[in-house]
């Protein structure tokens, strides 16, 4: 699911978001786990500091965990998702 990538700079950005959201590593992990994340706390920390590269799915769960926190604090989804905004098939395909 994850692979080593020392050059993965966007992970640093994720950690900045974590700090901005006022979450400790432990608290973000609990939220990530709650939303279905599969990595353990140490792996998540490694992803946040750029030592591990997250899968697309993991990246999405982390972004959503952070965004839910930002929404709770009155801010609007500042963390970008890995998927485009037009993913929803009904809109994409124009069918029900």
């Amino acid at each position: 699911m994850t692979e080593t990538s020392a050059a993965e700079r966007p992970a640093d950005v994720l950690d900045l978001y974590r700090r901005d959201a006022g979450l400790s590593h432990g608290d973000l992990w609990l939220r990530y786990f709650e939303l279905g994340g599969m990595s353990n706390a140490l792996e998540l920390e490694a992803i946040l500091c750029g030592a591990l590269r997250p899968s697309v799915h993991d990246r999405e769960v982390i972004a959503h965990a952070l965004n839910e926190r930002f929404v709770e604090l009155g801010r609007n989804h500042p963390v970008p998702y890995s998927q485009s905004d037009t993913y929803w098939p009904r809109e994409k395909n124009g069918q029900t």
Binding site: R31, E60, N67, Q83, W88
Partner: protein, 395 residues
């Protein structure tokens, strides 16, 4: 700036003497230290802000090192912000602990109001304050609300400076009163502000901009409902845009309306990421809080949370354990919802998750609620025997 001399001039013959301790090049800030008999009188002229805080602090420190009873003359002070107040609060607190007194002489109405709402007034002795300027209620109109000229975000980030002193409850309360005062003058639409904090197992108002606002909080504690209570317990933001259409708090809402309030914004306060209270902003006008004001309230709450965290305000293991159980419950519901979507849409697990995620984001509702919707929708389908051939689980 000239050298500081901090003892009465010898041979002054008992009259007043004065030493210029600091002056800036633009003449916007000057501190003079005079002596009335043996008592030092520190007079600040101009602006006590970030630029001058260090100098002002150094001068006050030097005076306080030699004298227990110090007079601070603010009659020529034009402007003061969080930095200036922080400097004075720290020295007033230190003098008080050593058995001395800081007397503040001739504060303007604005300064008096800030001293009052930040709780600094309790740490100092005020000389000749006009009683009519005290306790300006929400219905009074004396305007101190010219927002300080500096960026509010900068002001907010200075709050923690006050708690740089070892934190006891008095100091934390002082910082919270400063938060209330700053939020009151910087958040657009704010007619009143308060901070609620859980202490000894129950919520209490630690700082409020006036008595009406204290009464508003008390109504929420009494009814056990309201945005302040919810934000304090659930650790998330609650915004009642207009109480006319508000349905979430039926017992509390009429009480708030009776006090003339029409909009409320409560942001959670966290210590070590656990909810411990709320920053509550009240307005007489519906739809009073623009997005930028909501954002500013969020920043105030975040900074206040840092203060509370560093002060060690914390919560119990019981709350942590409850939180873990909740997380497991949510995870289970999400897994169920993923299964439902995989079946319905004919997609893989990751795609099902993305659909759910997108669904939650677009509706701005928490993931858990959306997952619960999806799972609940299967109950309606179950009535149709075609969807579950061979199975009949009607009770």
């Amino acid at each position: 700036m000239v050298a500081i001399r901090l003892a009465p001039e010898r041979g002054a013959g008992g009259g007043d003497t004065e030493v210029t301790a600091a002056i800036d090049f633009l003449g916007q800030f000057a501190v003079t230290v005079g002596f009335l008999k043996t008592r030092p009188v520190v007079a600040i002229r101009g602006q006590a802000d970030r630029v001058n805080a260090l100098e002002l602090g150094a001068i006050l420190d030097a005076v306080i090192a030699r004298h227990l009873f110090v007079v601070l003359d603010l009659s020529e002070l034009d402007f003061i912000n969080g930095w200036g107040l922080g400097v004075i609060a720290a020295r007033a607190s230190r003098l008080r602990r050593s058995g001395g007194t800081l007397t503040i002489r001739s504060p303007s109405a604005m300064v008096l109001r800030m001293l009052d709402t930040t709780g600094l007034a309790e740490l100092v002795r005020l000389e000749h304050p006009d009683p009519s300027l005290w306790r300006l209620g929400a219905e009074q109109s004396i305007e101190i609300a010219e927002a300080p000229a500096t960026e509010p975000y900068v002001l907010v980030s200075q709050i923690a400076r006050i708690t740089a002193i070892p934190a006891d409850n008095d100091v934390v309360d002082g910082a919270l009163r400063l938060v209330v005062a700053l939020a009151r003058v910087t958040v657009g639409g704010a007619d009143g502000v308060s901070v609620s904090l859980r202490r000894h197992g129950r919520l209490a108002t630690v700082a409020a901009s006036d008595q009406t606002i204290s009464a508003m909080d008390a109504s929420q504690y009494a009814t056990g409902e309201g945005p302040c209570v919810d934000a304090s317990v659930k650790g998330r933001w609650f915004h009642a845009e207009s109480l006319d259409t508000e349905t979430r708090w039926p017992a509390f809402t009429p009480r708030a309306q009776a006090l003339g309030i029409n909009a409320i914004l409560s942001s959670p306060l966290l210590a070590a990421e656990r909810p411990v209270g709320a920053l509550n902003i009240y307005s007489r006008s519906a739809m009073a809080f623009a997005p930028k004001d909501q954002e500013l309230a969020a920043v105030f709450a975040a900074e206040t949370s840092l203060v509370l965290t560093s002060a060690g305000v914390d919560v119990t293991d019981e709350q942590l354990s409850r939180r873990r159980s909740e997380a497991l419950g949510t995870r289970r519901v999400i897994a169920q919802a993923e299964g439902v979507i995989m079946e319905r849409e004919g997609v893989e697990a990751d795609d099902a998750y993305s659909l759910l995620c997108d669904y939650s984001r677009r509706s701005s509702r928490p993931f858990r609620e959306r997952a619960e919707d999806v799972v609940a929708s299967t109950r309606r389908l179950r009535i149709d025997p075609v969807s579950r051939p061979g199975e009949s689980d009607h009770d």
